[in-house]
């Protein structure tokens, strides 16, 4: 390849632009030809020109095609009424709201399942990762099999499996599994009581905020005291006690400010309470389990990357097992783990777009699906959808880069 390219250059130089090589001309064009700056400027201009030409052609073609088919352009459709319902809405929504509103409903649903997925996948992934280096042979092997099986099966297939196979075995609403007559599980989803604020609710919230402030103050005080005197204070358990105590005692002092709206079986389905859709459950489970296999491997390799000398040094210093993990191994393992963890979280968020395959109303399904079908404005809608994911990706990687710089090892 290099040889042929070089010959290309030679050919050009000798035959194509023969006069450049003319010794009488050395100071003029040939110097320009072999000047690195001039060359790089030429190539950049060439690339830019080609790119511009390419984009212009596409834009021109798109305009012609849109005109021919009579598809309107612009973002005017965002303020037209949508006219379709959505099965799960975190903000108020019904058929009379606009297409613009469907965008936000979908976006929030995407964020909800991504958030739930990230939390659960991290938890499960850490468990899997630690199991893989456990001293227990059986646990080690089982977690290895878990990782090797589930990592090598496409996520879409796993979503289908949870939705069409596992969740289809649940009973019908009439024979729901019920827990204390307040939580019901059936084929239509999980039904839980919905907390409704009552009189005194804002006072209760104020109490909780005060408790959080107290905990923060306590943490700062304990840190300062430890720095000055070396004495430790059980911050964690005290904080738990303060938060939990305020939540429980405050609840009764303010006169039970939260009512529960219980789900009830009326006709063929439950009414009232909060409905957790089976689509959400299937998607959440599949995302969690699939991502946990990757996170498990990251956790395992992160912990294994800390040299054994660190463990021996901890033993020599007389640290116990808990302190060894918390103070020495994990902070060092974190450095290795954070960059790949970030990309897993981003993958999970992007993978949540597979929701559209089972009809969970996420951004892709609601906006790039139903709204696109109703308006036909493919360019605008697909661009907006892509832009959302792009923004999330860039924001998260910017944040994680900043965080990574904070924990990274500062050498020299």
């Amino acid at each position: 390849m290099c040889w042929s390219l070089r010959f290309c250059w030679a050919f050009l130089a000798v035959y194509g632009a023969d006069y450049i090589m003319n010794p009488n001309n050395r100071n003029g064009l040939s110097r320009l030809f072999y000047n690195p700056t001039a060359r790089s400027l030429f190539f950049q201009a060439l690339i830019l020109g080609l790119l511009l030409y390419f984009v212009m052609t596409i834009v021109g073609n798109v305009m012609t095609n849109l005109n021919q088919r009579g598809i309107s352009t612009g973002f005017g459709f965002l303020s037209q009424p949508a006219g379709f319902g959505i099965s799960q809405t975190l903000i108020e929504y019904n058929e009379t709201f606009t297409f613009g509103r469907t965008f936000f409903v979908g976006l929030l649903n995407t964020l909800l399942v991504s958030f739930l997925g990230v939390i659960a996948a991290t938890f499960l992934g850490v468990v899997v990762g630690i199991s893989r280096i456990s001293p227990n042979w059986l646990l080690r092997k089982i977690s290895m099999v878990y990782v090797e099986i589930l990592r090598n099966i496409p996520l879409l297939l796993q979503i289908f499996f949870w939705y069409y196979v596992v969740l289809q075995t649940l009973p019908r609403p009439r024979d729901s599994l019920s827990f204390g007559e307040s939580i019901f599980i059936n084929i239509r989803g999980v039904f839980v009581p919905k907390p409704v604020p009552d009189a005194g609710f804002s006072f209760y919230i104020a109490l909780l905020v005060a408790a959080v402030v107290a905990v923060v103050a306590l943490t700062i005080w304990a840190k300062r005291r430890m720095r000055d005197t070396g004495q430790q204070f059980p911050v964690f358990w005290t904080s738990i006690a303060i938060l939990f105590g305020t939540a429980v005692i405050g609840f009764f002092i303010t006169g039970r400010p939260i009512m529960l709206d219980y789900p009830e079986l009326r006709g063929l389905n439950f009414r009232g309470g909060i409905t957790i859709l089976p689509e959400l459950i299937a998607l959440w489970f599949a995302l969690t389990i699939y991502t946990s296999t990757y996170i498990g491997e990251i956790v395992r390799s992160g912990i294994e990357s800390v040299s054994h000398g660190q463990t021996e040094a901890c033993r020599a210093l007389g640290l116990n097992e808990g302190h060894r993990m918390k103070l020495v191994i994990l902070p060092q393992a974190m450095r290795v783990m954070i960059p790949p963890m970030t990309s897993q979280y981003l993958n999970l968020t992007k993978n949540s777009s597979l929701a559209t395959a089972i009809g969970y109303p996420d951004l892709v399904s609601v906006f790039a699906g139903t709204t696109l079908n109703q308006t036909g404005q493919a360019i605008e809608i697909i661009s907006m959808t892509m832009l959302v994911y792009l923004t999330i990706s860039l924001l998260v990687s910017a944040f994680m880069n900043w965080f990574n710089r904070r924990v990274a090892l500062v050498e020299r």
């Binding site: 390849m1 290099c2 390219l5 070089r6 790089s40 190539f43 950049q44 690339i47 830019l48 790119l51 596409i58 073609n61 798109v62 012609t64 095609n65 849109l66 021919q68 456990s134 001293p135 227990n136 042979w137 059986l138 646990l139 089982i142 090797e148 099986i149 990592r151 090598n152 099966i153 496409p154 996520l155 879409l156 297939l157 289908f160 499996f161 069409y164 196979v165 289809q168 992007k350 993978n351 777009s353 597979l354 559209t356 395959a357 892709v364 790039a368 696109l372 493919a378 360019i379 697909i382 959808t385 892509m386 994911y389 792009l390 990706s393 860039l394």
Partner: protein, 364 residues
């Protein structure tokens, strides 16, 4: 005087050696460990026994219709009846030999290239990248006397393999160019490459496929009739080349700066430097990454179901919707899962093997 005869050493206690010793050390070394072992064993038992009973012991393997599934276990008849559909889609039955031949040739090339002892690797690589694609195209699509079989009749595992292979083979060169561009000293080229890579890496494949199926036709002059498979392929290649570029960049970054400087000092040109010094070394570091990308691409091809192409998952889903065979989703999905798993797992093992083999001791 009697001679000193040492007594033979007593054998180690039975609790410390053999199976018992091993179990004591690995399974019951402490109380929490014992609890974990018993708990895990119980869970394993209660999951595995019913599953094995359902999938093998009580399963029906032979038959031709739903009526043959009587034993209450898994109904693998559902799979065996439609096996050809799952493999070839709606490809005409009398032409099955064509994809078969293409597949056998592929396996042949893979063996040639992946087993170290077979010689003439360079020839193999050149043939695999030049002659084979043309041959496979003619075999699968038709022409030169073979009946033309339009791509909408392709499907099943065959389509999955076609997508994954074309995707990876086209994505590698684009990825190399993008990665070199990203490290270029010319700001415009660097910028163009960074934007291209970050754009495709930042959006989910499914939106790219949507884009390919609804937006792409608008980009061409009156070109709504662009082949559906072709459009999906363009989307997949764009997506994959951005990931490939990052793999290549990783390989380039892992090389020490001295290699670049050494090549410069010898007076090599840019392309000589890249193709004689940098890429051969970077390739070694990149191969496991490339295989991993291939694995994820292979899994991602299943997404084309969403834009209406029928790969193996799509064929099975279509079969599940058949009124004559309602009620066997578990068998269908497990079969697809098994097929994907076989391919992905063997590729990941090969990548680990390569990593060990290529580790020439430069690892720090």
């Amino acid at each position: 005087m009697s001679e000193f005869v040492p007594k033979p050493a007593r054998p180690a206690p039975i609790t410390e050696i053999g199976a018992i010793g091993w179990a004591r050390k690995n399974l019951f070394s402490s109380i929490p460990n014992t609890v974990i072992t018993l708990l895990t064993a119980y869970v394993l038992w209660s999951v595995l026994v019913p599953f094995l009973g359902w999938a093998f012991v009580n399963a029906d393997w032979v038959g031709s219709s739903r009526a043959d599934c009587t034993s209450g276990g898994a109904c693998w008849v559902f799979i065996s009846v439609r096996f050809n559909l799952f493999m070839y889609g709606f490809y005409p039955e009398d032409s099955y030999w064509r994809p078969n031949l293409a597949f056998i040739l592929l396996i042949g090339f893979l063996i040639w290239l992946s087993i170290p002892r077979i010689p003439f690797k360079k020839l193999g690589a050149i043939l695999a990248l030049t002659v084979y694609p043309v041959l496979a195209y003619v075999l699968l699509y038709g022409g030169f006397g073979l009946e033309v079989i339009p791509t909408h009749r392709w499907g099943g595992l065959m389509l999955t393999l076609v997508l994954a292979l074309i995707g990876i083979v086209v994505a590698i060169p684009i990825g190399v160019v993008l990665a070199l561009g990203r490290r270029s000293e010319m700001p415009v080229i660097r910028m163009v490459c960074v934007i291209f890579i970050e754009f495709w890496r930042g959006v989910p494949l499914i939106t790219i496929l949507f884009m390919a199926s609804v937006m792409l036709p608008l980009f061409f002059v009156g070109g709504t009739d662009a082949d559906k498979l072709m459009r999906a392929l363009i989307g997949i290649v764009m997506f994959q080349s951005a990931y490939m570029a990052e793999v290549v960049r990783g390989g380039l970054q892992a090389l020490s700066k001295g290699q670049f400087e050494g090549a410069d000092a010898l007076g090599l040109s840019y392309w000589q430097k890249m193709f004689l010094v940098v890429l051969p070394q970077a390739m070694k570091i990149m191969i496991p990454g490339i295989v991993n990308t291939l694995i994820s691409l292979f899994k991602d091809t299943s997404l084309i179901v969403i834009i209406g192409l029928l790969d193996i998952l799509g064929m099975v889903r279509q079969a599940l919707a058949d009124p004559a065979w309602l009620g066997y989703p578990a068998e269908g999905y497990l079969f697809v899962a098994f097929m994907f798993w076989i391919f992905c797992f063997s590729m990941s093992r090969y990548s680990i093997y390569l990593e060990n083999k290529l580790n020439t001791g430069h690892k720090r």
